[in-house]
């Protein structure tokens, strides 16, 4: 099992979500985050005084999948996340030791994405 953690532009998220859903990966989490990188800050002027903002808003997408699915997810993220400009973000893949479904207590890889029967219920 691997966790994929991607830092992305906001506008990249919706196409990624739609494609992952169509590929059978509906389970993911996002957070609104702020961070700095090579992208320049924004200078705000407030009544004559300046305030430069180095931390830029990004979206953090987290998703845990079986090892064999990692490349599919990463490819989808790269495909929709890339504009070619500085500030597109980063993707990290880390190992995950254990996983549990809270509702049933089941453990293991099979709990990672939606239950096979759950597709019809929304």
């Amino acid at each position: 099992m691997k966790k994929i953690e991607a830092y992305l532009r906001h506008e990249a998220f919706e196409p990624i979500r739609l494609e992952l859903l169509s590929l059978g990966f509906p389970s993911l989490t996002i957070s609104e985050v702020k961070g700095s990188g090579r992208q320049k800050g924004i200078t705000e002027r407030y009544r004559g005084a300046e305030l430069t903002n180095y931390l830029r808003p990004k979206i953090k997408l987290e998703c845990v999948v079986a090892d064999r699915d990692v490349q599919t997810i990463v490819d989808t993220v790269l495909k929709h996340g890339r504009t070619g400009q500085v500030g597109d973000g980063k993707v990290f893949v880390t190992p995950v030791d254990e996983a549990y479904r809270v509702r049933t207590g089941e453990a293991g890889e099979e709990i990672l994405q939606a239950h096979p029967d759950a597709a019809a219920t929304s």
């Binding site: 506008e11 702020k34 705000e44 002027r45 407030y46 305030l51 903002n53 180095y54 931390l55 808003p57």
Partner: protein, 466 residues
């Protein structure tokens, strides 16, 4: 008799106050001069109420914008109002009210005391008319911009404001209020406070702007299905609606241009009933369609009721007002749903001011009572009083003329703006929001700037004083 008594009392009271000031004059103030001053007083009170509608438009539009476009709404309202003020003084007022030729007025440019306006030297009373009518021009201009939220370049505002407040609105105002073209259709077009002249004019320009701008990014799916782009504050929106409702008492009530016969009290009552009908109409339509009491739509219903009752407010009896408002409220709900499929109008101005404005103007042809048609002195009674379709036809002609004229003139202006300085911001600026991209600052800084940077990225000299 009661009126005579009140005038006498008011006259005595005013005379007592004015005695020191006029002691040098040979004659004291007459009942007529005091009555005239009372008229001007009411017109100025109404002027103030209509000015406050700018706050209503600002809050309504900002509430319906996303938080990244909140500050720009304030800048827009102030800049447009300021430019329109000067333009109206320089030539807008003259085109609108400086004479009774069928097309345009031709006197009163650079308006001031003593200057010739329609063959008479301007007085303080003329000034009250000048400033009151300007507020209408400013309302009409404010209506244009609601539909252009979140994507229009700031530079479009001053350019279009000059053309609109200086020429387009004065042209229609001259036709409708200044003795121009509309006075010569039939026995005159009935538009008491401007369902067509003010609201349809603004909404038509808004429609033109929308067509030249195109929808906001993300408004439509790949297959063209409209998506909701929720505004950031229903409380601000709702406060805007209530302020507009308040301002409308001056908008319609002040259009009596005086206190004679106390008809302004009737007009204000009719206006309130119309607004009430609009809210009720909206909740009925919502109940029949989406089955959820959409907060924004209920507000739109109030506005539509007010827009619809604007033309008939001086012409209809109390009983007709809630009906006119109710139909306006129903129209706006279905209108917003229908227009949203094709045109991105973030606040629904084309429905609330356009469709309801058309309905309100036509409603005169149905509900105008013979008593009020006679006392205002324009047009005839409507359909329900046995007037047949005559007045309705006159009203329809005014609607058609207003729409076509404003649409053509606005489209020429917007096409010229688009071809020269550009009408729409870049996609990157639109995503970032107009607050930061146009104004270099956020309307809600704490929401966009990390707290860490706001409070600790200083020079370290700030001390806590305990």
């Amino acid at each position: 008799m009661k009126r005579t008594l009140m005038r006498a009392v008011a006259g005595t009271f005013a005379a007592a106050l004015l005695v020191p000031a006029v002691a040098a004059a040979q004659d004291g103030p007459t009942i007529e001069t005091v009555a005239g001053e009372l008229n001007v007083t009411w017109v100025l009170v109404a002027t103030v109420l209509v000015f406050f509608m700018q706050a209503g438009f600002a809050l309504l539009e900002i509430g319906f914008s996303r938080g990244k476009n909140a500050g720009t709404g304030i800048a827009k309202i102030l800049v447009n109002f300021a430019i329109a003020s000067v333009v109206w003084w320089a030539f807008g007022f003259a085109f609108a009210f400086g004479g009774d030729g069928w097309l345009l007025g031709d006197s009163g440019f650079l308006f001031q005391y003593g200057r010739d306006v329609a063959g008479e030297g301007a007085t303080g009373e003329t000034a009250s008319f000048f400033i009151f009518q300007f507020m209408f021009a400013a309302v009409s201009l404010a209506i244009v911009w609601g539909s252009t939220l979140e994507r229009i370049k700031f530079v479009a505002y001053p350019i279009f404001a000059v053309v609109f407040a200086g020429f387009i609105y004065p042209l229609i105002a001259h036709w409708g209020f200044g003795g121009g073209l509309f006075a010569e259709i039939g026995d005159g077009v009935q538009d008491f406070a401007g369902s067509s002249v003010v609201h349809l004019t603004g909404a038509t320009a808004a429609l033109s702007a929308c067509l030249f701008l195109g929808p906001r990014r993300g408004k439509y799916d790949a297959d063209g299905t409209p998506r909701a782009i929720p505004g950031h504050s229903m409380p601000l929106f709702g406060l805007g609606v209530v302020i507009l409702w308040l301002g409308w008492f001056g908008f319609n009530g002040g259009s009596t241009l005086g206190t004679g016969g106390n008809s302004f009290a009737e007009v204000v009552s009719v206006t309130n009933l119309g607004a009430a009908g609009g809210v009720i109409g909206a909740i009925v339509a919502l109940g029949l369609t989406v089955k959820k009491m959409d907060v924004g739509m209920i507000g739109n219903g109030a506005i539509a009721g007010l827009v619809a009752i604007t033309a008939p407010s001086g012409y209809v009896e109390f009983w007709a007002a809630p009906i006119i408002g109710l139909v306006g409220g129903i129209i706006v709900v279905y209108g917003v749903f229908a227009i949203d499929k094709y045109i991105d109008d973030p606040i629904g101005a084309t429905s609330a001011h356009g469709l309801a404005g058309i309905w309100g103007t036509l409603a005169c042809g149905i509900f105008t009572s013979p008593r009020l048609a006679e006392s205002v002195g324009i047009g005839n009674e409507g359909l329900v009083y046995g007037g047949g379709l005559k007045q309705l036809g006159v009203q329809a002609a005014a609607v058609g003329l207003t729409f076509v004229t404003v649409f053509v003139l606005s489209s020429i202006t917007f096409a010229a703006i688009k071809a020269t300085v550009g009408l729409r911001v870049s996609p990157e600026e639109e995503d970032a929001g107009l607050d930061i991209s146009d104004h270099g600052m956020y309307g809600y800084p704490e929401q966009f700037i990390p707290t860490a940077e706001l409070y600790t990225a200083g020079d370290g000299k700030t001390e806590v004083v305990a």
